[in-house]
Assembly symmetry: C2
Homo-oligomer: 447 residues x 2
């Protein structure tokens, strides 16, 4: 079973609900929407991501013989249901915000229109795919904004939550404006530029730091970035100065150094001074180690001489907000709009569209969420991306998505670009949608 496309990568209740729908012939058209209910306290915006992987999943989801056997042998489902699963394919329509789009709470980012069992069954993996990349792209975008034009690289595979998370984090971060990733597979997988030089173990495995540096420079002459803090950062910097002329004679240029511990602002200043005094003004300084948008912002604000930021664990786990309140909810079945009224988890009913309004300078002013059939002024954000289970048109390349994401970040008001706490965009609920909610409530109370 391939875990990524397996139909069994789902919640068991999808199967029990499906059997229920099928036994009653409940196969009319349903509309589900995916959205995030609330904004985490430190954040001001989200960036939509994961659509490419979702569409790939929807095009391929099916039950393998081994999976059908498991369902049949569980003893909890009818033979006719297993036969249905054998034929199961997703043949619905999808409307979505393009990847890289900035969005806010209660705005649908994906709308699925399909026969109820199909639209229902895909819920778990749909949320699993959209949630994680959206989480990471949203975090990465903040790091990019904080870095104020300096490149940022993803170093976070090892503490990402599993293989897929590490790989998709590299994609989501690149989309949001990162320069690349240390994750090799992001190269062949997504054409993300891949970076890396040496770890502390490389230095430790040599009998002296200077031997490790010289040795590395000889082996990777086009990629000489030396890690300074294994023993003593400033000593490491002086070793680089001593080594540089010897390497230069052999045509090898030291490209950079990396600092991975201690007070990075202070270390960067002292190392910069040592390098400059040693005639190594063009050697760049990379910093890493527990970075996130806040520490990057502090380093930038202190005008520390840092040329490149490497962000690891706190990016790939979105450490300050490790999940979003991302859900996929039934909005309409068989032409009948509906909504949950659960305490604190109420939803707006019906198929919806989001309209964006900009100010004269091209910055987002506000968004309006309304019904899909209501036409409003502003730019509609949901567009058709899949019809009858097949992608509409050609999908954008990751580089095209990057360009969109950069353009989107440029539409954020200045205080949001500076990630000021509490700065966000108001989302209005149209009167048409409010009226629909009242009608639905009255109907349900009468029912």
């Amino acid at each position: 079973m391939d875990i990524r496309s397996s139909a069994l990568l789902t919640d068991f209740y999808q199967l029990t609900m499906l059997q229920g729908y099928l036994e009653r012939g409940m196969e009319d058209t349903a509309v589900f929407e995916c959205f995030v209910r609330t904004m985490p306290p430190q954040r001001g915006f989200f960036m939509a991501a994961g659509l490419a992987q979702l569409l790939e999943f929807l095009e391929n989801v099916s039950f393998s013989p081994a999976e059908l056997d498991w369902v049949a042998n569980s003893g909890r489902f009818s033979r006719s249901f297993v036969d249905y699963l054998e034929r199961f394919r997703f043949a619905g329509d999808v409307q979505a915000m393009s990847e890289g789009t900035v969005f806010f709470p209660n705005e649908p980012i994906v709308r699925v229109t399909a026969p109820l069992p199909q639209a229902q069954f895909i819920e778990t993996r749909l949320v699993n795919l959209l949630h994680y990349q959206t989480l990471i792209a949203s975090k990465a975008a903040r790091c990019v904004l904080a870095a104020a034009g300096k490149p940022v690289i993803d170093f976070g595979l090892r503490r990402a939550h599993g293989a897929e998370a590490g790989l998709l984090a590299a994609r989501a971060a690149y989309m949001a404006g990162f320069a690349g990733s240390a994750t090799v597979m992001a190269g062949p997988g997504f054409e993300v530029p891949v970076f890396g030089t040496m770890g502390h173990s490389f230095v430790q495995a040599h009998d002296a730091e200077r031997h490790a540096f010289e040795h590395f420079a000889e082996v990777q002459p086009d990629n000489v970035v030396l890690l300074l803090d294994t023993y003593d950062t400033l000593k490491g910097a002086r070793t680089v100065v001593t080594l540089a002329p010897r390497l230069r004679e052999r045509g090898i240029r030291i490209k950079g150094v990396r600092l991975d511990s201690g007070d990075l602002v202070e270390q960067a200043r002292q190392v910069r001074r040592i390098l400059d005094d040693g005639g190594l003004r063009d050697v760049q300084i990379t910093v890493s180690g527990n970075l996130d948008e806040n520490t990057i912002q502090q380093i930038v604000a202190a005008r520390a001489p840092v040329d490149l930021f490497a962000v690891g664990t706190r990016l790939t786990t979105s450490a300050d907000a490790p999940y979003l309140d991302c859900v996929y909810k039934l909005q309409e079945y068989s032409g009948r709009p509906s909504r949950k009224k659960s305490e604190g988890k109420e939803t707006w009913p019906g198929a919806k569209q989001v309209y964006r309004h900009y100010d004269q300078r091209g910055r987002i002013d506000h968004d309006v969420v309304t019904t899909a059939t209501d036409t409003q002024a502003g730019t509609p954000l949901l567009r058709p991306v899949m019809e009858s289970g097949k992608r509409s048109g050609t999908s954008p390349s990751l580089n095209q998505i990057c360009e969109r994401a950069t353009a989107e970040l440029a539409t954020l008001p200045e205080e949001m670009r500076q990630c000021r706490q509490g700065a966000t965009i108001p989302v209005q609920i149209s009167s048409v949608l409010r009226d629909l909610a009242c009608l639905v409530d009255k109907r349900d109370e009468a029912g």
Copy 2:
């Protein structure tokens, strides 16, 4: 490329370091150890997990032709290095704590002894696998302790960080004492018991809640757990009371109800009263919705009539501590012990062993970390699990690991079983190990 066993699921610097080691013939034996540097503020212990997946990875890691092509075509490595990668296999020894073992900061949970390039190369995926399951097992164990004997189930696939995280979270949580998971694939994948009934959409898709309940009971007569909070929880409970006799006539018993929103303590009490008054004393109450060990503890302390807890997002993302400071560090190369001295990230040198000491009641008193060659009193925690790249003996089943985990949790002092903040176990560094560190530092300063 299969993402889970792919050799390219690694950091690029592993490749650049490897080429360096090989060009200098640095293939002597290296010892690396994996450990967690610090305890997150709210936590008191860790539970080791992920070893089974690590050993599977070590037995299978190799470069496919497509992967070799990518490395060759990157233009950053020599032909002889690509030839080496083609032959690459892990043939080292591994000592490890058994899965389910309780442990503390600075205690190695896995020690790898192998030729330097092999021991180095596996770093990224080793940390990626051990870190995540250890993170989740440690969190899940706290939920199990908080539930004080009541069953707990994992509902967290959708907001887990990707496919692998969701699946491995189900395994890690079951290991730590969960009763099962909603993730279907955890059944065929790990023989984890799988649970699930209905979501809100099932209720919404019907024209009335009572129809949804009756319909579900007919389709899944052995699995009737009804979700009450789609519209109004107490109304939902009264509907269950009305429905029960009609179902009983047809031989269908309502097993339980689920509450997923609002004040769960208050809701559970009111629902319990409605059910009891309606003669449904044996109908169990499951609660879900933003649960973690703290909310479970509050519900238990309030003596709310809850029979089963379902924990989702906050489990699978380990929301209060979404990562551990888990590292894999070179301890010795070619018989020469070494250590990092990076500020705030110093390590203890050399191959190590952990000895556990219990009090008279069988509770953990303290641990001692010492060198691998030093023999101490107490129970050694690291044991051989792989020799020359092959597993030693038979691996324990997941149920055997569960038993160990339960036994381990029973060795925690009472205040740690109650997850009291700040309660933890002292880890002593032996004088032998301290002396070794001094020797290494003197050597490095002289060098």
